[in-house]
Symmetry: C2
Subunit: 448 residues, 2 copies
């Protein structure tokens, strides 16, 4: 692979030029700004490297499929998106968000980290491999959607109606980053799911004077009592069967958790807290972050919310709850268990309003693709990888892959200071080049 | 008394003229509008009927004391206030708020019900009594403050520094009203107290992404758990010793509660509720309204409060709690018990911020003054009185009377449709005249 790596290094100006070009083009899906132009630039860029492209229309922005033929029968897919977040607040940018700027080895522009940098690194890897070897060793399939920043509303449609356009033997997911302090690359093998609901408790038809609380039910009390039945003070979720489907951690997963670094003192100082939840630390802390499902009050609202005192009996109380789910759990099942739990405890009249849901998605740590990626990381970087068997956050992996499950691994060219979704989004040139070399190495190693 | 009653009826135009004059003068304490003018008008009006007046300066608006000499040694005090609520929203008034308007036997103006109508009725009663009998039978002491509508901030000062100006054998409190549908007059013998606190639970120094809830404590959960320890689902307050000082109801109090009318179906329809709290009705419902201390969540606030989903781990959670206290209980004692309760249950780090407090105040239903007032009501009105041994609401009775306790009874000229604090505040001419006759009868009957 050293020749391909050298080629990438030698041609970095060309690849940075591609990056500059795609980052100079705004593509803000939330504001329908530059989306068509961006799609065309992407399509032509893929074609220029040898892809056969296909446009899949949706009710939103189209999905770009780009296929490269390789020598062997294996197919590796790349999931990316050509849309970016809005750039505001504009006055906090040190250079124009849509005018790519290079300063001290760092590339600044909206989309560098999330995730045009990854698209270009992946494309550059194919270009370099072809330049050195003439032909790719395997088939490659780019899947580039335009709605990731607005919740990927048509990914399920894509998964269901265009399954064959997605099908592959494995997929590299978008995202991924490198630690700024120790340079270790994050390798993500899955994401937690989400069930986000509102619990709504209602009383009289309008707020009353609190002297009436002696005789009129208070929905805020009812909601409080209901919430208190959901989780005990050791943070065990008390909903029957909540943990039943949680898959036990494999030895490999436990080993990956062991190898994670987590700077507990930094977090304590940064957040100004004395202890972590339940006074956990070390392995248990990392295990919970990666592998523990949660039940979180994200918001509660009832009655008088302003400064000072108002003697009011509320007519309504609402709690927003976020369940983070781990492999084995599904949002529908959890919401159904929640309903049963509330009914069982006499809270039949508390409504559940389901707002968001995302299934968890998880790649078996023993899958050969994981080993291949980790080998490729070891060949490309000096520093050992940090392996997240499950990221604490969520992502629409399951939406895309529900009909054709395949191992999914997240690696990318950003870093922990890349300012995702924020002003002065950036990546380093070094990470961009090494990330490109990594993709080329993965492509070279890939086999079923 | 028939002569005095007849005199009042015969001179009603004069007394309505007094009412018109004081209601035409704005006196909005919250906006410092017309306060000085109002004070002067009141002082001169009292003097014109024979009062010796005294002005007590405070750091706020002055208190007007007006003393009338009578034949016997007994002194009856009247507590009133010369300030009114702001008149907005102005566009909902059918006539000018500070231009007294008579329509179909009803007097409309800000202050008619709360409580210039009562001041004038009380003064008119003295005027009529003197006109018929030459001299009052007892001493009378008007205590008219100017800050009731802004929380009576100097009543405690008055009670402490001017005790002798307040001292009397009994006091008629401001407020009071008559039922619109059955014409029965409310007679109030006391008020519940209040302890209003905020419970504040803190987590990390700012809100975090909810994926961190796996390892960082959530102050909203902590507050929920703490609240759930305060009251059980049968609405028993679980704070140790909370009920210890509650005075048992006397037979007379129970009898008064029995005689109350409460239209349960009307409330159910009006508030759109199926049942009252704990499915109570009849005597138990009336008992709770009058005699049960409460613990009410008036507001809860934490994390994301807007529409839709935001995956946030809150940094802070606040609940506003209103304890309504009955005779025997005191706000300081209750807040101290609350602190002990939270500590005992492991919530040492939940802060208590005490916002408001008012002591309960209660007149013994067997006190002779109560009997005299009830006899006077029976002589003046055809309809039986409705006796509230304790009003469900609160009032600064204890603030004024802490240093010289005396029986306090609330009767007045307003009615249940008087629109207190709202546009189109009003009283009926008939209630004003009968209320004046009632005061004359009480004055006539009063003895220690």
């Amino acid at each position: 692979m050293s020749k391909v790596h050298q080629y990438i290094e030698a041609n970095k100006e060309k690849y940075l030029g591609w990056l500059e070009k795609v980052c100079n083009q705004p593509s803000v899906s939330a504001q329908n700004r530059g989306m068509e132009e961006m799609f065309t630039i992407m399509k032509e860029l893929l074609q220029s490297v040898g892809a056969k492209t296909k446009t899949i229309q949706t009710e939103g922005y189209p999905v770009l499929i780009g296929e490269f033929q390789g020598e062997k029968e294996e197919t590796l897919a790349f999931y990316n998106h050509y849309d970016v977040q809005p750039e505001d607040p504009l006055d906090e940018w040190e250079s124009e968000p849509f005018q790519t700027t290079f300063r001290d080895g760092v590339v600044f522009a909206r989309g560098t980290a999330d995730n045009k940098g990854n698209i270009i690194a992946r494309l550059a890897a194919l270009d370099a491999y072809q330049a050195v070897h003439g032909k790719l060793p395997i088939h490659i399939k780019f899947i580039i959607e335009g709605e990731e920043e607005v919740g990927s509303p048509h990914l399920e449609y894509l998964a269901k109606e265009h399954t064959e356009d997605i099908r592959a033997d494995a997929i590299l997911w978008e995202g991924g980053m490198r630690e700024v302090n120790n340079k270790r690359l994050h390798v993500g093998l899955g994401v937690k799911g989400i069930a986000y609901v509102e619990l709504i408790s209602k009383g009289a038809k309008h707020d009353l004077h609190s002297s009436e609380a002696a005789i009129i039910e208070n929905p805020a009390w009812k909601l409080t009592w209901a919430l208190a039945t959901l989780k005990d003070r050791n943070d065990n979720v008390l909903i029957d069967h909540f943990y039943d489907e949680v898959k036990p951690l494999t030895d490999k997963s436990k080993q990956f958790i062991e190898t994670l670094e987590y700077d507990e003192n930094y977090t304590k100082e940064n957040y100004e807290i004395d202890e972590f939840i339940d006074e956990i630390s070390g392995y248990e802390l990392k295990r919970r972050l990666i592998a523990e499902p949660t039940c979180t009050i994200c918001g509660i609202k009832s009655g008088y919310l302003e400064e000072g005192a108002k003697t009011v009996l509320p007519s309504k109380a609402v709690a927003k709850l976020d369940f983070r789910l781990v492999p084995g759990q599904t949002p529908d099942r959890i919401v159904s268990l929640l309903r049963k739990h509330l009914d069982k405890h006499g809270f039949e009249d508390i409504e559940i309003n389901q707002l968001n849901h995302l299934e968890p998605y998880n790649t078996d740590p023993d899958d050969p693709f994981v080993t291949q990626v980790l080998d490729a990381v070891a060949e490309t970087y000096e520093e050992e990888a940090i392996i997240y068997s499950n990221l604490a956050g969520s992502s629409p992996m399951h939406k895309l892959l529900s009909n054709c499950q395949m191992p999914a691994v997240q690696v990318g060219v950003a870093n922990t200071s890349s300012k995702f979704h924020a002003p002065n989004e950036n990546i380093t040139i070094q990470d961009f080049i090494q990330g490109t070399q990594l993709v080329a190495t993965i492509v070279n190693k890939f086999k079923k």
